[in-house]
Each structure stands twice: as structure tokens, then as C-alpha cells.
């Protein structure tokens, strides 16, 4: 193989014509691996071969378009029908369209190799340029840029690589690029930028800008400042030629050629410069593409390491990049899938997702189930957000889906358990109620006055028991479907009095004093009254349960400087053992003593904690064995905070 040739693998997409197989053989003689395909290439063909060069018959144009942005290969359309050339030249601006018709394969190969060989020969003057030669220049520069890109990946390096080709054909002593955005000057050849030279370039650029309005869409692509009597600042610069860059659209910089010689630039150089500038642009466009691809690869590598299913959705191209975890999930190893496929896999209201993320600029959360069957379906907690600041996607979404199947299973089991317990409790109550009611109505015989009274006491207490059971059931439901908030201005002293009244009878039965420490003039606080009530009831009920007879329970409430509602309920009961303290907010946890003799299912505290945290508040406690426990809450005023309660 000729040294300096970067081509090692060639993917040859043909239409089956014999001329092509002859050409492929010539490649092979040069020890180049050639893979010939007659059908549309698949992604795996690219991944396996990693082609440097893709020669494709024009009939493959459409199928190649799917790949040419993804793989950093040099794509060359080729045809055996010369008439095709004109038609496709416009679609492929800076790649060669080459006809093999009538050419001997060896000659053709020679030409192709010289395109790809990076021959640094002297480029022809503009008047010698024929179509074929223009193509030659384009490809040479491109190849060299591709090579330099592997080492640097920097635009300025790429530009200076491009500049090497101008070196010997058009005389210039300095070639610079001036970026209007960063106000940076990149010298693309020779010397470093001395302050004086910098000044000179600034003066030239300013003069240029005065003449050309950067907002204009199309510029006359030349500007010449030439005055041998008054060289620009740096006395050596005597001739210059400047071009806007890019030449179409809003330009962002200026490319300039400077010379120390007088009147070096001729009028007929302009067209050539213009042509070259355009070529640099297209090459840079391609380079940027490659840089983007590299960045993309880096990002996607990180992406693949993540242990959640992730997808980056390109809404414009309607594609989704999926990571390894995601591919495992699909059972299909393909990095890029159609958006449609993702939509089908994670079925949720995607229109709503797009609206929430793109219009409302909010994160969209949803629970997604994979599989119909409840027993073996997978449950995912998904979060979708706008995808910003990424070079390769302008309008995108990112989806992260965490597999919470196991957690969900435990939650479901608990919910079922609660539901069953609730059912089991309700049935006997219902039966007893029926008989109490039958007796009250005198069915089965008239009751004595005393019996009627006893019966009504049973009935009253049954009602209470029923309410309690319903409460547990309701709490369980709030767990499953978080309730919507009802925010009102809550009068805290009034609320606390209601709780105290509620427990009056029970507290009296153990002769426990309820002491309230609440300022009467406490201002109303915006909150969900029922929720505050539920929290307090829980605390007061616990205090009651764990207090011994003849003790005191203190209920305190105040609004703190930060505006938070601060409440505590302090008992002088048996306290919580150190070993149990970190478990008390767990569901179904009850202390050893509890299990012996106290009623309850151990749900209260865990649910209270959930509720408080949903409101953005805090819950904590202090406890000492045999001295007592104090439960505290601090809750921010609602309304200030964005409510996170979902109504799903």
C-alpha cells in the first residue's frame, strides 16, 4: 500500500454491474479490504467493516443518507452513467461524482488512489482548473483534514491543515482567521500573532466590516486592501484579500490572505479564492459533523455505563438513542431506534410528555408498566425532561427509567395485606352491627330498659370501631392515590382544640392531662387542615398509647420566623429504646411492648412521615426510655411551595 494513504477498508455499494467488480479487484491489489454489497447497507455492515471510504453507486443514494452522518467515512458517489453526474452534483456538493463508464478500471483506480493518497503536489492555478481537478483538491483537503482530526479535533488545526494546500499555489505570507464572536485571531500559517500584526489584522477586519454588513445574507466574497505606499501598521504587509466566513448566511468570521509583496493578488485570483473559501466551509461543515459525532460517541459511552434505562430522543429526526440497559430491556441491540418504537415500548401519553417538557419546561414523571400480566410485568419510574446543551440534538428529550419492579411488588403486597386486613376486620363488625340493630328493633323479643341502654352503648362503640377501621383503610388509600390538597387558612388554636376534644374521653379514662401551649393570637396559616389534623391525631394517639396513667401530654404549636408551622406533642410515657429508634418510621413497625398489649397496626408514623415530607416539611423525635417521647413537625406554609401532590 502506498504510504500516506489513509484508506484501509472500502465499502463498495454497487448495483451489480460488472465494471464495479473489476474496480473492486484493483482495490484489492492495493491490499485494501473491499466489501461489496449489492443491497442497501445495514448498520452492522458499517460497524463491522469500519470503512474509511464508501464508494456507492448512485442507486444507493437514499440508503447511504441514513449512514453518512453517523460514520466518519469519506463517501464518494460513483456511477457508470455520465449523465447522472450533473443531476447529483448538487446533492453532494463537495464529494466527487465519478463516472467509470468507458474508463479502464486501472486508470480509474489510479485516479481514485490519487484522490485518497494525500498527494501534496502543487495545486494547479485557477486558470488550469477543470471540473475533475476541483474535485481532486476537494478530496485531498478533506482527507488531510480527516487525518489531522484524529489527532486534534480542533477547528483551528483543521484550518491550518487546509492552509497547507494553499501554500504553494497562491502566494501568501500569512493566512488568518478572525472570529467575530470571540474576537480571536487564528493565524493559519507561519508566524505567531505579534501585537503589531494583530493590530493590522484588526484594522483590516474593521475596514472590511465597514464595507460589508454582517447581517446581510449574501456577501460579495472579496475585499482587498492594497496600498504599497502605506503598508498596514506592520510595515511589511502590502497586499491583502479578505473573505467573509461562511460566505452564505450570517457570517461569523473573516478569512484573510496577507502578503508582504506589492500587488500580488490579481483579479482572476478572486474566483479561485472564492471557490476555496467555499470548499473550506463545506469541509468545516463536515468536520463539525465529525467533531459532533465524536462528542456524541463520548456522551453515549457515558450513557451506556448508566444502570437505568435511558433514551435520548431526537424529535426532529424522530429517533431515539438508547443505552445498553435499554437495549437489554428491548432484547434488541441497536443503539438508535425510531421514536415510534420507544413510544410503543414505554406507553404513556407522549403528547403530554412533550407539552410538559418543552412548553411548560417541567420534568415529567410517570410510572410505566411493561407487560400485561401483573405477576411478571416490570414497573418503571420514568422521568422525562428537555435535553439541552448537546451538540448533536437541537430539539430533544431525555428519558430515564428506573426499574422499581421489586419495590412495587413489596408495595402491592402491603396494599393487598392492608386491604385483606381491612376486609377481615369489617366483616365481624358488620355482623355484630346487624345483631345489635335486630335487638334494638325488638326482633327476637322486647329488651328491658337496661338491655336497651347496653345495646345502644355497644352500638356507639361499634360505630367508633368502624370509623377506626375506615381510617386505616383511608390512610392506605391516600398512600396509593395521593389526595388533592385543600389549602385554606387554618386557625391553629382551633385545630388543636378539636384534637384535644376528640381525645378527651379517652385521656380521661387513663387520667392523662392534655396541656396545650398555643398562643391564642397565632395567625392563620395556609395549609391543608385535614392533613394537619391527621398528623396531630397520630401524635396524640401515640402519646396516649404509650403514656402511663396519671401523666401529662403537652401539645405545642407556634409559627416560626421562617414562616414554618412548628408543632410538637410530648408525652411522659415509656419512651422508645435506642435500638428501635431508627425503625419507628418504618411501616408495620411496632415496639416489642406494643405487640403484647396495645392495639394498632403500626401504620401511623410511617404514613405521617410520608405526608409531612410530601408537604416539604420535616418530622423528627426525641425519646428517652421510661422518660417519654416528643414528636416534632415543621411544615412550610403551603401555596408558597409547588404542590407535588399528584392526582393520578
Amino acid at each position: 500500500m502506498v504510504s500516506g494513504v489513509s484508506i484501509k477498508n472500502v465499502l463498495f455499494l454497487t448495483d451489480g454491474d460488472m465494471k464495479y467488480s473489476a474496480l473492486a479487484d484493483v482495490f484489492r491489489k492495493e491490499n485494501i479490504t473491499v466489501k461489496t454489497l449489492n443491497d442497501a447497507p445495514t448498520e452492522s455492515a458499517f460497524i463491522e467493516l469500519k470503512p474509511d471510504l464508501v464508494l456507492f453507486d448512485l442507486s444507493h443514494e437514499r440508503s447511504v443518507l441514513n449512514h453518512w452522518e453517523i460514520h466518519p467515512a469519506c463517501f464518494i458517489p460513483i456511477t457508470h452513467n455520465p449523465e447522472d453526474m450533473d443531476a447529483f452534483q448538487s446533492t453532494w456538493p463537495f464529494y466527487i461524482i465519478w463516472s467509470v463508464d468507458g474508463d479502464h478500471p486501472d486508470i480509474l483506480m489510479h485516479r481514485l488512489l490519487s484522490f485518497t493518497r494525500l498527494s501534496r503536489g502543487i495545486l494547479p492555478r485557477s486558470d488550469d482548473l477543470t471540473d475533475g481537478n476541483t474535485a481532486l483538491i476537494k478530496l485531498n483537503i478533506l482527507n488531510d483534514l480527516l487525518l489531522s482530526l484524529d489527532d486534534h479535533l480542533r477547528l483551528s488545526d483543521a484550518l491550518s491543515a487546509a492552509a497547507k494546500y494553499f501554500d504553494r499555489m497562491i502566494h501568501y505570507d500569512l493566512l488568518f482567521f478572525y472570529s467575530l464572536w470571540s474576537d480571536n485571531i487564528v493565524l493559519l500559517s507561519g508566524e505567531s500573532v505579534s501585537p503589531r500584526l494583530k493590530d493590522a489584522i484588526h484594522i483590516l477586519s474593521k475596514a472590511f466590516l465597514e464595507e460589508k454588513n454582517p447581517e446581510m445574507s449574501r456577501m460579495i466574497p472579496d475585499f482587498r486592501y492594497s496600498d504599497s505606499e502605506n503598508p498596514v501598521r506592520d510595515e511589511r504587509i502590502r497586499d491583502s484579500l479578505l473573505f467573509p466566513f461562511p460566505s452564505t448566511g450570517r457570517f461569523s468570521g473573516i478569512i484573510g490572505f496577507l502578503s508582504y509583496k506589492n500587488n500580488i493578488y490579481q483579479d482572476n485570483d478572486r474566483t479561485f479564492f472564492e471557490d476555496l473559501t467555499r470548499q473550506i466551509e463545506t469541509i468545516l461543515g463536515h468536520l463539525e459533523n465529525i467533531v459532533r459525532k465524536k462528542q456524541e460517541q463520548q456522551i453515549l459511552t457515558v450513557f451506556d455505563q448508566i444502570n437505568d434505562a435511558m433514551a435520548i430522543i431526537d424529535l426532529q429526526k424522530e429517533l431515539a438513542y438508547v443505552n445498553h440497559y435499554f437495549q437489554d430491556l428491548m432484547g434488541k441491540y441497536q443503539k438508535i431506534i425510531p421514536y415510534e418504537e420507544l413510544k410503543n415500548l414505554f406507553s404513556q401519553d407522549w403528547d403530554k410528555v412533550q407539552k410538559t417538557c418543552l412548553k411548560d419546561k417541567k420534568v415529567y414523571r410517570h410510572k410505566v408498566f411493561l407487560g400485561e400480566n401483573k405477576a411478571d410485568r416490570l414497573v418503571f419510574d420514568t422521568v422525562t425532561d428537555r435535553f439541552r446543551n448537546l451538540p448533536f440534538i437541537e430539539n430533544g428529550l431525555i428519558l430515564v427509567a428506573r426499574n422499581i419492579t421489586d419495590n412495587q411488588r413489596v408495595e402491592d403486597m402491603k396494599a393487598d395485606l392492608i386491604s385483606n386486613v381491612s376486609h377481615e376486620l369489617k366483616t365481624p363488625v358488620a355482623i355484630v352491627k346487624e345483631y345489635v340493630s335486630l335487638m334494638a328493633d325488638g326482633i327476637g323479643g322486647t329488651l328491658s330498659k337496661d338491655h336497651q341502654e347496653f345495646n345502644s352503648i355497644i352500638a356507639k362503640n361499634l360505630e367508633r370501631l368502624e370509623r377506626l377501621i375506615n381510617n386505616v383503610f383511608d390512610v392506605m388509600k391516600t398512600e396509593k392515590t395521593r389526595r388533592k390538597q385543600k389549602i385554606t387558612d387554618v386557625d391553629i388554636p382551633d385545630l388543636i382544640q378539636e384534637v384535644v376534644d376528640l381525645f378527651k374521653v379517652r385521656y380521661a379514662s387513663k387520667n392523662i392531662t392534655q396541656t396545650t401551649r398555643v398562643k391564642d393570637d397565632l395567625p392563620p396559616i395556609p395549609a391543608d387542615r385535614d392533613v394537619l389534623m391527621q398528623i396531630l391525631i397520630n401524635f396524640v394517639e401515640n402519646a396516649y398509647k404509650y403514656s402511663d396513667e396519671n401523666s401529662e401530654v403537652i401539645i405545642f404549636a407556634d409559627i416560626r420566623k421562617d414562616g414554618n408551622l412548628y408543632m410538637y406533642v410530648k408525652d411522659h410515657g415509656r419512651g422508645i429504646a435506642k435500638k428501635d429508634q431508627d425503625k419507628i418510621f418504618q411501616r408495620f413497625f411496632r415496639t416489642g411492648l406494643d405487640l403484647e398489649r396495645l392495639p394498632g397496626v403500626g401504620l401511623g408514623l410511617s404514613i405521617t412521615k410520608d405526608i409531612v415530607e410530601q408537604m416539604g416539611g420535616e418530622i423528627w423525635f426525641e425519646s428517652e426510655l421510661n422518660k417519654g417521647t416528643t414528636f416534632y413537625v415543621s411544615i412550610p406554609p403551603m401555596g408558597k411551595l409547588n404542590s407535588e401532590f399528584n392526582s393520578e
Binding site: H423, K426, E434, Y435, L438
Partner: protein, 123 residues
């Protein structure tokens, strides 16, 4: 008052007896069954004026029993009231799907039950 026959299908004997006592005290004729299969057979042999049907029943659950009654041209006009301790939305929908005429959640008051029965009995 015409004597209406009400069939109670309920596996909880104490509950069954309580409802029976209540209905008899008002003057209904009451028949009972304690599992789904027996219940269905009794629907066919007695042809009651109304059925009170529990959901969780041995041998055949209440929804199935209801479905069988409502599927049969001969019996589909017999009103069926489902009695259930479940109050989940899903069960309510299932009850509707199988053609139940009413759905009462336990514990229900005697008054509720009687009101429903009176509404549904043929005039």
C-alpha cells in the same frame, strides 16, 4: 302485601342469619344458600323475586353467579343486589359488567338495604 321470596347467598352464617331475621321481620319469605353453586341451583329451583348476593363465596364467586343469572333468559329479570365488603372501584365496575342491579358495600345500614330491595322488587 304479596309475599315476596328473597334468596340470600352468603357464606358467613351469622351474617346470613341476621339478614334473614331482618327480612322475615318485615314479612318477606327468605331462602338461603351458603355457596355460589348452591345459590345458583336455588335461583333455578325457587325462582326468587330478588337475590342478595355476596361476592366472596366458596365454589363460585358472586360475580360469576350474577353473570349466570343474567345470562339466562329465564332468570335475567330477577333483580340481583351485590353485597360486598370491597369498595374498590374495580369491583363496582365488575358488578355492573355482570349485570347486577345494585351494589351495596358492607357494612351497609339495614335501611339502605331495605330501600334498595323495595326499589327493585316487581310492583
Amino acid at each position: 302485601m304479596t309475599e315476596y321470596t328473597i334468596l340470600i347467598i352468603e357464606d358467613e352464617p351469622d351474617m346470613l342469619r341476621a339478614i334473614k331475621l331482618r327480612l322475615e321481620s318485615i314479612g318477606f319469605k327468605v331462602e338461603t344458600a351458603s355457596d355460589g353453586l348452591e345459590g345458583l341451583q336455588k335461583v333455578k329451583s325457587i325462582v326468587p323475586d330478588l337475590v342478595l348476593l355476596d361476592i366472596m363465596l366458596p365454589k363460585m364467586d358472586g360475580f360469576k353467579v350474577c353473570n349466570m343469572i343474567k345470562f339466562d333468559k329465564k332468570y335475567k329479570n330477577i333483580p340481583v343486589i351485590i353485597l360486598s365488603a370491597k369498595s374498590a372501584q374495580k369491583d363496582f365496575h365488575t358488578a355492573k359488567t355482570v349485570g347486577a342491579d345494585a351494589y351495596l358495600t358492607k357494612p351497609f345500614t339495614t335501611a339502605d338495604m331495605l330501600k334498595k330491595i323495595k326499589e327493585l322488587l316487581p310492583k
